[in-house]
């Protein structure tokens, strides 16, 4: 990484002026010779000048600070010698010359192959000897005089020429080469005829010539400034103009003063004349030096040297000094007067008090003056600062990224007025373009900002690395990096990049083109932008985080929504009722995974009384699986109506499914037909888990080969038949059962399942045993990875058919550990909500609120909702008070399930005395005082809902409240136990 601070902002023009080869050598030789000549002449002239100065002049008036007799007398009166006077002035002139030479050498050193800069350097070296009196002493030595006059002509020509061609080396306007040429010819003529040298003219003609020259030069520069220059060149011109003004003021003042003082030889003004020589002359020489100084600054300009600041400070401190002087003198005079009147003494007190007052006044006054100056002369800067300050105060409330960036670009546009402005923001993690810097496209603001045409900056672009490591504004012109982004930005005319850094991370770049006014950005502008960046960066970061979070929430909601849809499809496809056949018991269990797996089962009752069992599993999850499941189900149903043979049904279904199924998906499926009359079960299997037949004391796997549906067409399926005798049963299941994992990542496995079936004695039912074993194996709090579906088909022994045909379906993990069987009237209960509340007093309203929120979708009538709310609240209060003794570490669980026809709210507590059976309070006894007034809770609960059940198991007390959804009217329901 290389930063060339000295590089001219307009390198293209600078390159035109580069000298190469013999031209360069010739230029350097000429430069070297002329510098040598100038140095030689000056050094030669010094002793002559010294002699001249200490010798009393005999002419009237004495020119060039020479000693007149009167001046010498004054000098002696002050105890100073003629030698001292001579040494002093020679020293001053030498210092000025040396300073100019140093500046000239500096320019040569930095820009030695630029012809314009060589010319500037030479001009500086030759102009000072020409202007000062030192070399003019050489008139007495003709050989040297010639060289001195050559220098004079050269510098005279060069100065004028430079005014027409600085700062880019071209004549602007183009015709100005004519006056430049004429002036150069005239300058050559001085050399031949020294009387033509305007510096040798009498005062008035000399002033006229110099004034005309100055005006012409300034006009050329002014024209250039207004019509041609770009911002960098304007900055350079400003420097030169200020230098020139300084020179003009110094020259005019000094000459005027000299003219006044020289007008009289009277003794009383001799001391003023001396003062002029001792102080005025060096000051004048310094003003001469201002021009080379300002030119060199404009050429070698460094970004911190901001002329506007210098002028600003000069104005502020000039005004401040003026005011303070007036205040000081005024207060001294006033106080002295007051002291004289009051204490008849004057002196130190007044001075001391005034000084003290000035000390106190200084800072506040400086601030006030600065403010006035800024407002009067730097209105734009002042307004910009105000606008940015106002913007910063609103930042904290702005968390919308779009609005924030728009406001940021708006405020930059308003205050800095760039031709273009772009905001690049690093895309946060999780975004597809994470890490890239993308130009914000939503920032159209007025007519000005065009968007960057490159679309993204890579995170490893050298520009990014550079901006991350610098503190402060990056001036792109000065940057030399092998960066595609930098090249693109430069090509589009971006000049400034303001890094937005938050938590030492580069989160964005605010890029500005040049000003619309073509003025350069000042150091103040840089400061304002920097402050803005410091304040904006964290706000942008926060806004990005907020946006990211919103996006995540939306994504999650979308996913949840998809899950709900998939679950809904799946649920709607499962049979609502289990078929009933005398002598047979059919039980089902279905537990969907959270991600919604592809399990399904189906029953079909054929016209001849036979029963079809279908159990299947679609690979994949979510909506695609649910849709395939729907198709498969209807295909199988359609085939079952026409065909008797299970193998034919599967084969035909396979053909149809193959045509439609998405790639990489397939369906395993077991298809079985039971004739309940004789117990014959014919079955075919399309790659599904093998059913188990419990026959006497042995467990038989029901083999039948066949490929899964949808994998490839033209499949044949093996068909088999068994006869189920009384007391035997068959278990159909999905792989979610045998592939369930425990905490150690071991699977349950078919062998384990087979053992469980073999060990099963008949009571409790096989499904209950399997479900509880599965829960034990996986752990109660583990989300099931896959759907689990179980269907058992049992042939009941004569006279033993005591159990009702039952079915279980649950809708989530909380239901795995059901302490009690779910009550009628529903076959399929679905989870609605589940809350847990700490046992604390005063939560009645919270419970009511929860119930009302959870039941919104069920459209309970207001009255029935009120009844339910009261009943649940009573149950919760009982659990908290009687069960948990208001111990806030103990939680009361409220679980809400629903089906099409009913809502079930299950309130459970962990411990406490068993919940009693509700009884009707004897109000008369209570009023008579024979009974406590309390004891209404259970009674109210029972009378407010449609059904209530109480379960007191070993370690759990549960109240179930059931509200019918079908008869959702506000009819009063009063029951009495």
């Amino acid at each position: 990484m290389h930063l060339d601070h000295s590089h001219l902002p307009h390198s293209k023009i600078g390159k035109d002026r580069q000298l190469h080869g013999w031209k360069l050598i010739a230029a350097w030789t000429a430069w070297f010779l002329i510098v040598l000549l100038a140095l030689g002449i000056f050094i030669t002239a010094v002793p002559f000048r010294f002699n001249e100065l200490r010798t009393v002049c005999t002419e009237t008036p004495c020119a060039k600070q020479l000693l007149s007799p009167a001046k010498l007398a004054t000098l002696l009166k002050f105890g100073l010698s003629a030698n001292f006077y001579a040494i002093y002035l020679v020293l001053v002139e030498t210092i000025l010359f040396s300073a100019t030479v140093i500046v000239a050498l500096l320019i040569f050193w930095r820009k030695s192959n630029d012809w314009l800069m060589l010319l500037v350097s030479l001009t500086l070296i030759t102009v000072t000897p020409a202007l000062t009196s030192t070399t003019q002493t050489l008139v007495t030595i003709p050989e040297i005089l010639l060289s001195a006059e050559f220098l004079g002509s050269f510098s005279g020509a060069a100065v004028f020429l430079l005014f027409f061609i600085l700062p880019d080396g071209r004549f602007v306007p183009r015709w100005t080469w004519i006056p430049a040429l004429l002036w150069s010819i005239w300058a050559v003529l001085w050399f031949i005829a020294p009387s033509l040298n305007p510096f040798g003219f009498p005062a008035l003609p000399r002033a006229i010539v110099l004034l005309v020259t100055l005006i012409t030069a300034l006009s050329a520069q002014l024209y250039r400034y207004i019509r041609v220059s770009d911002s960098g060149q304007r900055q350079q011109t400003k420097w030169m103009v200020w230098g020139l003004i300084g020179l003009a003021i110094g020259y005019a003042t000094f000459n005027l003063a000299t003219a006044i003082v020289s007008g009289s030889e009277a003794a009383e003004i001799s001391q003023w004349r001396l003062l002029l020589d001792f102080v005025g002359y060096p000051v004048f020489l310094f003003t001469l030096f201002l021009l080379p100084l300002s030119i060199s600054i404009s050429i070698l300009r460094y970004r911190l040297w901001d002329i506007d600041i210098l002028v600003n400070r000069a104005l502020v401190y000039g005004m401040l000094v003026g005011i303070l002087t007036v205040v000081y003198l005024g207060s001294v005079i006033l106080l002295q007067h007051v002291f004289r009147e009051l204490v008849a003494q004057e002196g130190e007190w007044a001075v001391a008090a005034s000084t003290l007052a000035i000390a106190f006044l200084f800072q506040p006054l400086r601030r006030r003056v600065q403010d006035v100056i800024d407002r009067r002369f730097y209105r734009r800067k002042y307004d910009a600062a105000q606008t940015l300050a106002a913007f910063s105060t609103t930042l904290r409330d702005q968390v919308d990224l779009t609005q924030l960036t728009r406001a940021l670009v708006g405020v930059v546009n308003k205050t800095m007025q760039p031709v273009r402005v772009a905001l690049w923001l690093r895309q946060p993690y999780g975004n597809p373009a994470s890490g890239l810097f993308i130009a914000q496209t939503n920032l159209q603001h007025g007519d000005s900002p065009k968007l960057e045409e490159i679309t993204a900056i890579a995170p490893d672009d050298p520009l990014v690395t550079y901006c991350r490591n610098v503190s402060g504004i990056v001036i792109l012109d000065r940057l030399r990096l092998n960066s595609p982004a930098l090249r693109a930005m430069k090509a589009m005319g971006t000049t400034l990049a303001v890094p937005l850094v938050s938590h030492s991370e580069l989160i964005g770049l605010l890029c500005l083109g040049p000003r619309r006014s073509q003025q350069a950005y000042t150091a103040d502008d840089h400061q304002l932008l920097q402050n803005l960046a410091t304040q904006v960066a964290p706000a942008v970061r926060v806004a990005q985080l907020v946006r990211q979070q919103q996006a995540e929430i939306q994504a999650r909601e979308r996913m949840e929504q998809e899950l709900r849809v998939a679950r809904h499809i799946q649920h709607s496809l499962l049979p609502k009722n289990v078929p009933k056949r005398p002598g047979w018991e059919i039980t089902t269990y279905y537990q969907p995974a959270r991600a919604v797996g592809g399990d399904f089962y189906d029953f079909l009752e054929l016209p001849d009384g036979r029963l079809v069992f279908i159990i299947g599993d679609v690979t994949d999850k979510g909506i695609p699986a649910a849709l395939v499941m729907a198709t498969t189900r209807s295909t199988l149903r359609a085939a079952a109506q026409r065909l008797i043979s299970p193998s034919q049904v599967l084969a035909q279904a396979n053909e149809l499914i193959c045509a439609d199924i998405p790639e990489a998906m397939f369906v395993t499926c077991l298809y079985a037909v039971l004739d309940p009359k004789n117990g014959r079960l014919r079955y075919a299997n399309a790659g599904h888990s093998l059913p188990y037949w419990r026959k006497d004391s042995q467990v038989v796997k029901l083999w039948a080969t066949g490929m899964p549906l949808g994998l490839m067409p033209d499949q044949r399926y093996e068909e088999k038949e068994i006869t189920i005798a009384a007391g035997e049963n068959v278990l159909f299941y999905s792989d979610g059962l045998i592939e369930a994992h425990n905490r150690d990542r071991q699977i349950l496995g078919p062998a384990h399942l087979q053992t469980l079936i073999a060990d099963h004695s008949g009571d409790p039912p096989l499904i209950d045993v399997l479900v509880s074993k599965l829960a034990q194996f996986t752990g109660h709090d583990i989300d099931p990875e896959d759907d689990v579906t179980l269907v058992t088909l049992s042939r009941v022994q004569e006279g033993k058919e005591t159990k009702k045909i039952q079915s279980r379906q649950t809708s989530g993990k909380q239901s795995v550990t059901l302490p009690t069987p779910l009550p009628a009237p529903c076959v399929q209960w679905r989870a609605l909500a589940h809350f847990e509340l700490p046992s604390k007093r005063g939560q009645d309203r919270q419970v009511m609120q929860l119930i009302s929120e959870a039941t919104v979708s069920l459209n309970l009538s207001p009255r029935r909702l009120e009844r339910l709310q009261t009943a649940v609240t009573e149950a919760v209060l009982n659990a908290m008070e009687h069960g948990h003794g208001y111990d806030p570490t103990k939680l009361v669980s409220i679980e809400m399930l629903f089906c099409e026809t009913a809502l079930l709210v299950r309130i459970s507590q962990g411990e406490g005395p068993p919940i009693p059976t509700p009884k009707t309070p004897d109000l008369a006894a209570k009023v008579a005082g024979h009974e406590e007034p309390r004891g209404w809770g259970l009674f109210l609960m029972q009378n407010l809902v449609d059904d209530m059940r109480i379960h007191n198991s070993v370690n759990r007390r549960t109240v179930e409240l059931i509200m019918h959804l079908e008869n959702n009217e506000d009819a009063p329901t009063t029951k009495t136990v």
Partner: protein
């Protein structure tokens, strides 16, 4: 979400022969003391009838029912008549379910209740 319980407030007004207890907020078991005090105040001018105005009540639970039963008992023991008015439809239903209406006459609003009392007094005279 946290819903603080609404504080229970009670004001007592006197009409000739009727003490009116105006109830506000929630009637739960913790309102016992305030209710008893209000009852004492309502009856200190020898009112034969005490009217409970439930207009400002938005929640009654089983504990609150028990408190009302206590008031019924107090009134019953001292031979006073207890009336209620301003109950919402739902709480009227709750009163019926609990059969409190066997011991308290419920009126829709205060004016109706007071009119009934006057009627009663007039009739007795």
């Amino acid at each position: 979400m946290h819903l603080p319980p609404k504080p229970f407030k009670v004001t007592v007004r006197h009409r000739p022969s009727v003490g009116i207890i105006e109830l506000h907020g929630e009637i739960v078991s913790s309102t016992e003391e305030a209710l008893s005090a209000a009852y004492v105040e309502a009856t200190n001018q020898h009112a034969a009838t005490v009217l409970l105005n439930f207009n400002g009540v938005d929640y009654i639970n089983s504990g609150g029912i028990a408190r009302i039963v206590s008031l019924i008992r107090q009134a019953h023991q001292s031979g006073r008549v207890l009336l209620a008015c301003g109950l919402s439809e739902y709480y009227s239903e709750l009163f019926e379910i609990a059969k409190l209406t066997d011991f308290i006459d419920v009126y829709p609003d205060e004016a109706t209740a007071l009119a009934a009392v006057e009627d009663n007094v007039f009739r007795e005279e």
